[in-house]
């Protein structure tokens, strides 16, 4: 298939890329841009390991054409780190055992980012519901809830009027 030139804005930086119109966003992120934090865990939009934010909404990058994301803000796990330090959710996932093998972790963190952006004080029910878009085989999810609670608490403590990055 003939390649086309597109502009993709990822983590605040604009890249000019020649890609096949059929190229999936996940493949472009991983192969063209070397952003391998987003993972491929399945081939059928069932596991959520490839979750990225497109204009703030959590989307499965394995089910999006890269070309369709032109003009939109894409945030990947590589864009979550704040000024070279771990974001509260990243730190909390490490401290509370939210990540074991870590393969699903980037997807979960993106899902949590999008949840907290919409609902900064979710109930456990809200969290469970939001996380059900992603699968994990290691943790049984329990320690993720603790991590998310800790991250919310840390954010509140750090900046009572914080505005997300």
């Amino acid at each position: 298939m003939k390649k086309e030139l597109i502009e993709l804005k990822v983590n605040g930086r604009t890249h000019e890329l020649a890609i096949e119109p059929s190229a999936l966003l996940l493949d472009v992120l991983r192969r063209e841009l070397g952003l391998t934090g987003s993972k491929r865990g399945c081939d059928e939009s069932s596991c959520g390991a490839c979750t990225v934010l497109v204009d703030g909404a959590a989307m499965l990058s394995c089910a999006l054409l890269a070309a369709s994301c032109e003009g939109q803000e894409i945030t990947t796990i590589e864009g979550v780190t704040e000024h070279g330090s771990l974001a509260a959710i990243q730190k909390a996932y490490g401290d509370w055992g939210g990540a074991q093998c870590g393969y699903c972790t980037p997807g979960f963190i993106m899902t949590v980012k999008s949840l907290l952006a919409e609902n900064p004080d979710p109930t456990e029910e809200d969290v469970r519901h939001a996380l059900s878009s992603n699968l994990c085989r290691c943790t049984g999810y329990n320690q993720m809830y603790e991590a998310i609670r800790a991250a919310i608490a840390a954010e509140k403590k750090a900046a009572p009027t914080a505005v997300g990055p």
Partner: protein, 862 residues
């Protein structure tokens, strides 16, 4: 050793946590090298067929295809067990399951490789296939492997004590058939291997091979690559990048790992192969479908008098770990309770389905489901509380069980007590509203197999430690971090022994060129064995540091205390002064934040200089002690290794090698469930899981492992099942396989029990597998408590629960096809199945474009 720990027992974030939460860490598929090609494997569409010919010429002509590898490119057989070398990387003359590996296309892109797969022409001669183990055992002809009569991979017949006498003495006997259906690991990371050759500078030809792979066993991989590629092991370097979960699915050499190397050799370029999720399901190596005929006898007082088990495992088409699995099923009837008489008949049977192998709780899980369910039934028969009957059958350690297993630390009594207390068992059992119930069950697992797969006197784990003038501690271990926290455990033990901070320790792991041999991450052996090796290596280096420090401090090295980056004389009251001085350094460091660490080091160095001039002192920093030791000894390195003691290696009977372990972990669990009697749906509300892990080196990890095990057990209990139809997997996807999501997952309350094992590192044992097996029977027993039906087949799907409920109420049996148009085909088949092989084929609608005459043989492009 220090009393009171500074690092052990403290909740610690994993040393690689940031790599994982930032997406910066590299898993194998995240790695690319210049000139890398992509490999794609052609799989067999038939469950059992002879390969008459393979023609790759059309595929090779496709633009972008570099080469196509086939079986004869590397015909040597391999298999994880020395007795089971029955696999070929790519099929030679026969395929034995749908998904068996036939050829590998190497191309410049995935899309081209996929297209080329369709251009490979394979001519098959179809053979009758076997899908049911009990049918397969009757086979006389068309055997799956010619040398395996009756398709029997292996059978064992063990008698310990006098089971007949035991049953004669019993007051109550229960007997039933249990079936546990097949489950798979479904680790989130699909298998991936990247293989590349270097050109040898002397011969100018292909030389050393480097393989990066998602493996739990890099050293076994190195060994098998050497066998198949006919290369010396020292010419092969295996590196394990981050691994996205294993659960046993990466604990043996998966064909793609060898195929990638064969393909790279043939393509003369680096080749990466990554399985699709569907291929991961076909590669499988999970827990076999197991048929258990179990008989247990007890006295009125609840004491077990005898157990008889006949176990048939549907092993799939190759041996894999099968011989070990079937032995574990029998051996680990022992070592949980005191059972005086055991009869065990185990059959590992070959069928035309993907090979089963090791999966979390290897060999024990399905039999434990049967045993704990039956024990519950017996408790009810004699009117005893199910928790109490378990307490009546405790071992009295230290002891050696009737089947030769040595038990030392034994936290089971405490596990039962705590889980009963926390769950409110005594107050709530039997008093919950209708449809809601509590169930209890116990389980255990080895902390590492006492005998390695390849029999030798080699230590099972070796660890090297290097400490340099910078005060950095580098630990080299072959142990494989797969998400369970092995690198963190290693760093913690090294730091604790050396009395230094965790930040000083860097772990280099699982790279066969750099790290000393460790047989891998399986049988829950890493904490116990690699942990002990780390402990010994650290003690050896510490001895040298202590000798030099003692000399500087004019005391005996035994009088030194290593703690929190300070080496001091024991019992002195210099603690305050030393803290002040150190704080002074910290303050100056903080002041010099612009050039940060560098200036801090200079300041620290000048402080050291000043202190050096002061003569003998009562304490030194860790760095000072290290420098003193290097000045005195030269290079500062230490090595430690671990081999299980001979007393822990088991009895003398045939098959005695599997089951023995230097220590066993114990678990007791209570599950609370509710059952919807109209739909048959089971909901698990909470599981209380007490686990005896010896000592929790890192409580947050231990709890994570307990919760993860219970969760995986719950998946097997309620939803997960590989559904087969004539050798075709009906649900090769994570949703269809029904891996539970967060909304289906209950709260799990982990309860850590520490029995302090006399031989474990700081008393630690395993914590990652032992809890899984108890969850399934705990849920089964809770279902019985809730609605009074005892389920004999897992998973406990709504259909099975409803069937049991109807049978109990003597209602008409459930018929899911009721109401379906009777004129529709009698046997609807989505895929060609056994009928296909008899030349009948699936009946299709007259207008179905796929309708065509059924071929007796077909090309691979179908």
């Amino acid at each position: 050793m220090n009393d009171g720990f500074s690092i052990i027992g403290k909740p610690t974030a994993m040393v690689d946590a940031a790599e994982k939460t930032t997406g910066g860490g590299k898993y194998t598929d995240d790695i690319s090298v210049p000139g890398m090609l992509i490999g794609k494997i052609l799989h067999s569409p038939y469950p059992h067929a002879r390969i008459k010919s393979i023609d790759t010429s059309r595929a090779e002509k496709l633009e972008g295809v570099v080469t196509v590898a086939v079986g004869k490119d590397a015909p040597n057989p391999f298999g994880i067990l020395p007795v089971g070398h029955d696999e070929h990387a790519l099929a030679l003359d026969k395929v034995r399951y749908v998904g068996d590996n036939v050829a590998c296309v190497v191309a410049i892109s995935e899309a081209i490789a996929e297209k080329a797969l369709e251009l490979i022409d394979v001519e098959y001669e179809l053979l009758p296939a076997y899908f049911d183990p009990e049918e397969s055992m009757k086979a006389e002809t068309d055997l799956i492997h010619d040398h395996k009569q009756h398709n029997l991979e292996k059978d064992y017949h063990h008698v310990f004590g006098d089971p007949e006498k035991g049953f004669a003495e019993a007051d109550q006997i229960a007997e039933a058939r249990f079936i546990a259906n097949e489950v798979t690991h479904a680790a989130m990371e699909p298998h991936c291997t990247l293989a590349s050759f270097e050109l040898d500078p002397h011969t100018g030809k292909l030389g050393r091979l480097t393989v990066q792979s998602s493996t739990q066993v890099p050293y076994y991989l190195q060994h098998k690559l050497s066998l198949v590629l006919e290369m010396p092991m020292q010419q092969i370097r295996v590196i394990k990048p981050l691994v996205g979960g294993g659960f046993g699915g990466k604990s043996e050499v998966i064909p793609l790992e060898i195929i990638a190397a064969i393909a790279a050799r043939k393509a003369k370029a680096p080749v990466k192969i990554t399985y699709t999720r569907e291929e991961v399901f076909w590669a499988h190596r999970g827990r076999p479908r197991t048929i258990i005929d179990l008989k247990t006898g007890i006295k009125h007082d609840g004491r077990i008098t005898a157990v008889k088990a006949r176990v048939v495992q549907d092993g799939g088409a190759y041996c894999s770990y099968g011989v070990v699995t079937i032995l574990y099923s029998g051996a680990l009837l022992g070592a949980l309770y005191d059972i005086p008489n055991i009869q065990y008949d185990g059959y590992r049977v070959l069928t035309n389905k993907p090979a089963c192998g090791a999966m979390r709780g290897h060999g024990t899980v399905n039999v434990r489901f049967a045993f704990e369910s039956q024990l519950d039934e017996l408790a009810q028969m004699i009117g005893m509380d199910p928790a109490e009957i378990r307490e009546r059958n405790l071992l009295q350690p230290p002891c050696i069980t009737v089947n030769g297993l040595r038990v030392q630390s034994y936290g089971l009594p405490e596990c039962i007590e705590k889980t009963v207390d926390r769950s409110g068992w005594r107050e709530r059992k039997g008093k919950l509203p209708k449809g809601r119930g509590l169930g209890i069950a116990c389980s255990h697992y080895v902390s590492g197999a006492a005998n390695s797969i390849i029999r030798s006197d080699m230590p099972h784990s070796t660890v090297n430690i290097k400490i340099d003038r910078d005060g950095g501690v580098v630990v080299y271990t072959g142990a494989s971090e797969i998400g369970q926290g092995s690198d963190t455990m290693t760093a913690q033990i090294a730091a604790e022994v050396l009395g230094c901070s965790l930040e000083r320790v860097r772990v280099i792991a699982a790279d066969t060129d750099l790290t000393p041999i460790d047989i891998g991450s399986y049988s829950s052996r890493v904490t116990f064995m690699a942990g002990n090796a780390t402990l010994r290596a650290a003690q050896e280096v510490k001895k040298n540091i202590a000798a030099a420090a003692a000399k500087k401090m004019n005391c005996a090295s035994e009088d030194l205390l290593f703690r929190e980056d300070v080496v001091s004389k024991k019992g002195g009251d210099q603690l305050v002064a030393r803290k002040d001085q150190l704080e002074e350094v910290e303050v100056t460091q903080a002041g010099a934040s612009v050039s940060g660490r560098v200036e801090g080091q200079i300041l620290r160095g000048s402080l050291q200089q000043k202190r050096n001039e002061e003569g003998p002192k009562d304490w030194m920093t860790f760095e000072e002690a290290v420098v003193a030791a290097i000045d005195f000894h030269g290079a500062l390195t230490g090595t430690g290794s671990y081999a299980p003691p001979p007393e822990a290696r088991g009895g003398k009977h045939k098959g005695a090698g599997v089951g023995p372990s230097p220590a066993y972990s114990y678990s007791a669990q209570v599950a609370e469930v509710s059952v919807d009697e109209d739909t048959g749906e089971v909901t698990v509300h909470k599981v209380w899981a007490a686990h005896d892990c010896g000592r929790a080196l890192n409580p947050v990890s231990v709890e994570g492992q307990i919760i993860g095990s219970v969760w995986m057990g719950m998946g097997q209990a309620l939803t997960e099942e590989m559904v087969w139809k004539d050798g075709m997997l009906m649900n090769p996807g994570l949703l269809e396989y029904r891996s539970p999501s967060s909304v289906e997952s209950p709260e799990v309350e982990p309860i850590i029990v520490e029995s302090i094992d006399p031989e474990g590192p700081f008393g630690a044992k395993e914590c990652s597998e032992g809890s899984l097996a108890a969850t399934i029977p705990a849920i089964a027993n809770a279902i019985y408590d809730a609605v009074g039906v005892r389920l004999h087949e897992s998973p406990f799907t709504p259909e099975r629960v409803l069937t049991a409920l109807r049978a109990k109420k003597k209602q008409k049996a459930l018929n899911p096809t009721e109401g379906i148009d009777p004129t529709s085909p009698a046997r609807f088949r989505e895929h060609g199945g056994s009928l296909w092989f008899k030349g009948k084929g699936p009946r299709r609608h007259a207008l179905d474009p796929a309708r065509r005459p059924v071929p007796t043989s077909a090309g691979g492009a179908d």
